[in-house]
């Protein structure tokens, strides 16, 4: 374990020759095989260690090994970091690092005008230009005017730096990403030790590969320090962000979600039984939990999505907390079994890491289009609790809350994450699990004899039935998906009983509203001209857009929902206090429809279904339009 110490609000240091910036957006782009994601992740880690706040956005192709040099094989990693609170990976990059012509071709349009281009000229040849679809050479034809440019033959520099390690030409060129990382470390005044330590650990069995990579990184750094550059390459410094004191690490949404499930099971005093089927972008949760099997976790890679949810239900039946996870196509397959958990009234957590649909859609691209699926995607009257995570670190808290609700109310709980949150990283103030509020589960106690036990007698406060896993004498009972008579749980086709059971299952879920905090605005007042409402991963862009708009004196608030079913009890009243309500969501208006029908309010929508997160600027423009129209 490497630990480092940093501090907040350090008095700004004047470093000769370095420009002070508040925040920067850097985008690394290259071929799938260029190690762009590693480069980005390491830069993020070093940036976090420097005390900056940050948000990242890995943007990679679906193809595992796309043909080299093609535009569809371009892998990118964007990071926004700085000395203020960072909510999003940033809109337009200030800096684009392009490792080949295809990356330049794909990513250049996003670079802000006047932005800085760092280009590996060594990767530019007639063949690679043609492969990227360039008729001429953009380095020579003037098409890059309007940008500041640093052109370096990174390939040659890297080969030179690692020459003494005796690697093959191919392996030597693999160090290009580390050379580039070294240069960017110099640009932003980052420490290299943590990366060097990581490289030596990563390549422990190939010490010469490790040392070659370290040497490449050092060479890139030295290049920044010493090269006679034309003034375009200026070292920058970013003051530490105002971050709450504590012990930090970087965390992705998948990590936080997996760890939150483990913490939630611990707080409930239960073992975690996790069962899923591989699917993009949800699989990392399975990988992380399987790697932590020693800590009260049992995992199963099931034969299909249906088996995955069914095994999880079986796990809950046996007294563990059963959890399954997937993305849209898999959640659709699980629908019938989730209905069984509704009827059997067993705890179950279903994680949906949403991706662009319908059908296979765009597996590696993000979307929020499964809200209706989560809320309504089952036959019969089958309400479940639905939660959404707003950021990578929030996944931890939401996973804990999902297990609390599932066990307290004996119900399935859907957790909505998405491809963006799952892969994005941010600094996280690591909680002390022993200090978190626990919610121990109490299994049913043995009564006097077999049939005295009433498996469907409800708790008067929560409406939940008792949980009686097999193993205890005197509690033997039979449950199932057929409608059950109240209290006894025997099969019942009695009309009045069915009405009663439907009503009781509904009021049990509705009653969760009494057990969750009232909704408060994230920013702004509890009434005003405009509220921008969001849920899930739109938190970052909405929050930043509202913050900036309020700085400019606009009367706008940000409301962000974690609980999507049931809604917080005061939500209708709160929304009614604004002149206009705008819902920004990455679908065609699913929450908009829900809020309109629930509260009869003229809620408006801001939709985006491109597979890409909102840009701050898009939300800001919508705010401005609404407020100008109202004026």
């Amino acid at each position: 374990m490497n630990t480092f110490t940093t501090q907040t609000a350090k008095p700004p240091e004047q470093v000769i020759g370095r420009t002070q910036l508040e925040s920067v957006v850097v985008r690394f782009a290259g071929d799938s095989g260029d190690g762009i994601q590693v480069l980005g992740a390491k830069f993020a880690a070093a940036t976090a260690l420097s005390g900056n706040d940050l948000a990242t956005f890995p943007d990679f192709p679906a193809e595992i090994r796309a043909p080299a040099g093609t535009t569809y094989g371009v892998s990118a990693f964007q990071i926004n970091f700085g000395g203020r609170v960072i909510r999003t990976p940033g809109d337009a990059p200030d800096v684009l690092v392009a490792m080949n012509p295809a990356a330049l071709k794909v990513e250049l349009p996003a670079l802000r005008s006047g932005g800085l281009l760092v280009i590996d000229t060594g990767s530019f040849s007639e063949r690679t230009l043609r492969k990227a679809g360039y008729a001429g050479n953009p380095l020579a034809d003037g098409s890059l005017e309007g940008y500041r440019r640093i052109e370096i033959d990174v390939s040659a520099m890297t080969l030179g730096a690692v020459k003494s390690f005796g690697l093959s030409q191919k392996d030597a060129l693999r160090c290009k990403n580390m050379w580039t990382l070294g240069l960017v470390y110099w640009m932003y005044d980052r420490e290299r030790e943590a990366t060097a330590a990581w490289l030596r650990q990563r390549f422990a069995k190939q010490p010469n590969v490790a040392e070659a990579n370290v040497a490449a990184m050092n060479a890139g750094h030295a290049y920044g320090e010493t090269a006679e550059l034309s003034g375009d390459l200026v070292g920058c410094i970013l003051p530490p962000a105002p971050i709450a004191p504590g012990l930090y690490r970087t965390v992705t949404g998948s990590e936080a979600l997996a760890w939150g499930l483990m913490a939630g099971a611990h707080l409930a005093g239960l073992r975690l039984f996790f069962s899923s089927y591989p699917i993009t972008p949800a699989s990392p949760i399975l990988h992380i939990l399987t790697a932590n099997r020693e800590a009260g976790v049992e995992t199963l890679q099931a034969e299909d999505e249906i088996a995955a949810v069914c095994a999880a239900i079986g796990g809950s039946y046996s007294g563990a907390i059963g959890v399954t996870s997937s993305s849209g196509p898999g959640i659709a397959l699980k629908a019938e079994a989730i209905g069984l958990a509704v009827a059997a009234e067993l705890p179950l957590v279903v994680v949906d890491t949403q991706r662009a649909g319908p059908s296979t859609g765009m597996p590696t691209k993000t979307e929020q289009s499964d809200l209706n699926l989560a809320l309504f995607g089952r036959h019969g009257e089958s309400p479940v609790a639905v939660l959404a995570a707003r950021s990578p670190s929030d996944c931890f808290d939401v996973a804990v809350e999902a297990i609390r609700l599932a066990t307290r109310y004996m119900t399935p709980v859907m957790v909505l994450s998405d491809g963006y949150i799952a892969n994005a990283a941010q600094p996280w103030n690591i909680p002390d699990v022993s200090e978190m509020a626990s919610f121990p589960v109490r299994f049913a106690e043995a009564g006097r004899g077999g049939d005295d036990f009433l498996p469907y007698r409800r708790d008067p406060e929560t409406g939940a039935r008792p949980w009686a896993p097999p193993g205890k004498a005197g509690l033997e009972h039979r449950i199932g998906g057929i409608e059950k008579g109240a209290d006894f749980g025997h099969i019942s086709y009695d009309p009045a009983n069915h009405q009663r059971m439907v009503d009781e299952r509904a009021s049990k879920i509705a009653g969760i509203a009494r057990d969750i905090p009232p909704q408060r605005p994230e920013l702004g007042d509890e009434h005003g001209a405009l509220a921008v409402v969001g849920w899930g991963s739109t938190y970052g862009p909405i929050n930043r857009a509202v913050y900036v708009s309020r700085e400019r004196g606009l009367d706008v608030a940000h409301i962000h929902l974690r609980h999507l079913n049931p809604f917080p009890a005061n939500l209708g009243r709160l929304l009614a206090g604004y002149g206009r309500v705008l819902v920004a969501e990455m679908n065609s208006g699913q929450l908009v429809g829900l809020l309109r029908s629930r509260y009869l309010l003229p809620v408006e929508g801001l939709s985006k279904v491109t597979g890409q997160p909102f840009k701050i600027e898009e939300v800001q423009r919508a705010i401005l339009e609404r407020l100008e129209l109202s004026a």
């Binding site: 480092f4 020693e294 796990g315 809950s316 193993g471 033997e476 039979r478």
Partner: protein
């Protein structure tokens, strides 16, 4: 001094729940239910440790009539749910009750995987070659030509053989029994239970309403002795009161039914059953009347490591806070201190 009181011995009736059994009068399921209750009582099973998991169909009502833990789930998924039940609590004795439609049509995939994973549970497949609860459509085990509401001209699909499917899926215990043969059925159920790993039992079950007497060719009073062969490990494969037996036809690599004393056939020519021989099990499973007898009993029993046994004991206990804290702090971390503390 505390003396542990051994649990009272239970009778078959102690395994019957208070629920009225609602199968059609004369249904083969009654006989299987009775055999199950007797088998558990004879075994000395504890109701609180016993779980029946079923899917959907006539057979899947089974758990309601057992005074054990029971979970009547959804169509075809019982093997998957039972896998979760067993993995989350390996101490439980888990039984899957399914039918030919539930287990081999809508749930065929789960059946394949529960067997190949070798989850330590028993699968009882009640085969009546018809969809009973949906009123008589042909099923995946129906013979070609089965007339039903959904196949008025006779079905054209080739049936699947449950025991051959199970062997193909990698099951390490495969057995077959007939609903009405109580004594034999009970002994098969007990063998299945004592086998460690997934045990697959096909039970020929007569549907008196939609497919009556479909197994008559080998269960009828007159045909039974000539058409039923009971496999016993280490014993010669004889039938028809010991008059006939199975001989290996080496050039054709197949079994043939021969009569002792005819054409020079002696005791030494008859194959001896070896329950660990999968090739023999496959040949036995493939036998069909009227040319050959139907093989009953334990066709194959060759235990292998079961699924989930390799899991750390620690996974069986809830995680400790210290272990979680340690996990969350693995890798690169950094401490942020307040500015005031530095000054």
């Amino acid at each position: 001094m505390n003396v542990a009181t051994p649990p009272a011995a239970l009778k078959a009736s102690d395994f019957a729940s208070d629920q009225e059994v609602r199968w059609c009068p004369g249904c083969g399921d009654y006989a299987i239910l009775k055999a199950m209750q007797k088998a558990l009582a004879e075994w000395g099973a504890r109701p609180e440790r016993t779980v029946f998991v079923s899917g959907i169909g006539c057979s899947s009502r089974f758990p309601y009539y057992m005074a054990t833990y029971g979970f009547h789930t959804i169509h075809g998924r019982a093997p998957a749910i039972a896998t979760g039940v067993k993995l989350a609590n390996p101490e439980l004795d888990v039984w899957v009750v399914t039918g030919d439609g539930d287990g081999l049509s809508i749930g065929g995939n789960h059946m394949l995987h529960v067997l190949r994973r070798n989850v330590d549970l028993q699968v009882l497949l009640f085969n009546n070659e018809i969809y009973g609860l949906t009123k008589g459509q042909y099923s995946p085990t129906s013979r070609v030509g089965t007339r039903s509401p959904s196949s008025p001209q006779g079905s054209v699909e080739q049936p699947v053989s449950p025991v051959q499917f199970a062997l193909g899926a990698g099951a390490r215990f495969v057995a077959r029994a007939i609903d009405t043969q109580q004594k034999h059925l009970i002994s098969v159920l007990k063998s299945a239970r004592s086998h460690r790993g997934a045990a697959f039992v096909e039970i020929f079950q007569n549907c008196i309403v939609y497919n009556d007497d479909v197994f008559g060719a080998f269960t009828g009073r007159d045909e039974a002795p000539r058409r039923q062969l009971f496999c016993e490990d280490g014993k010669p494969l004889l039938f028809d009161g010991g008059r006939k037996g199975l001989r290996l036809n080496v050039p054709r690599l197949s079994l043939e039914a021969v009569t002792l004393g005819e054409d020079g056939v002696g005791d030494g020519d008859i194959l001896v059953h070896d329950a660990r021989n999968k090739t023999l099990a496959s040949l036995l499973a493939a036998m069909q009347p009227p040319v050959m007898p139907v093989a009953l009993g334990v066709l194959y029993d060759d235990p292998a490591p079961t699924f989930g046994r390799g899991v750390d004991a620690a996974a069986r206990e809830p995680a400790r806070a210290e272990a979680l804290n340690e996990m969350l702090r693995r890798g690169d971390t950094w401490t942020v201190t307040a500015a005031s503390e530095i000054a």
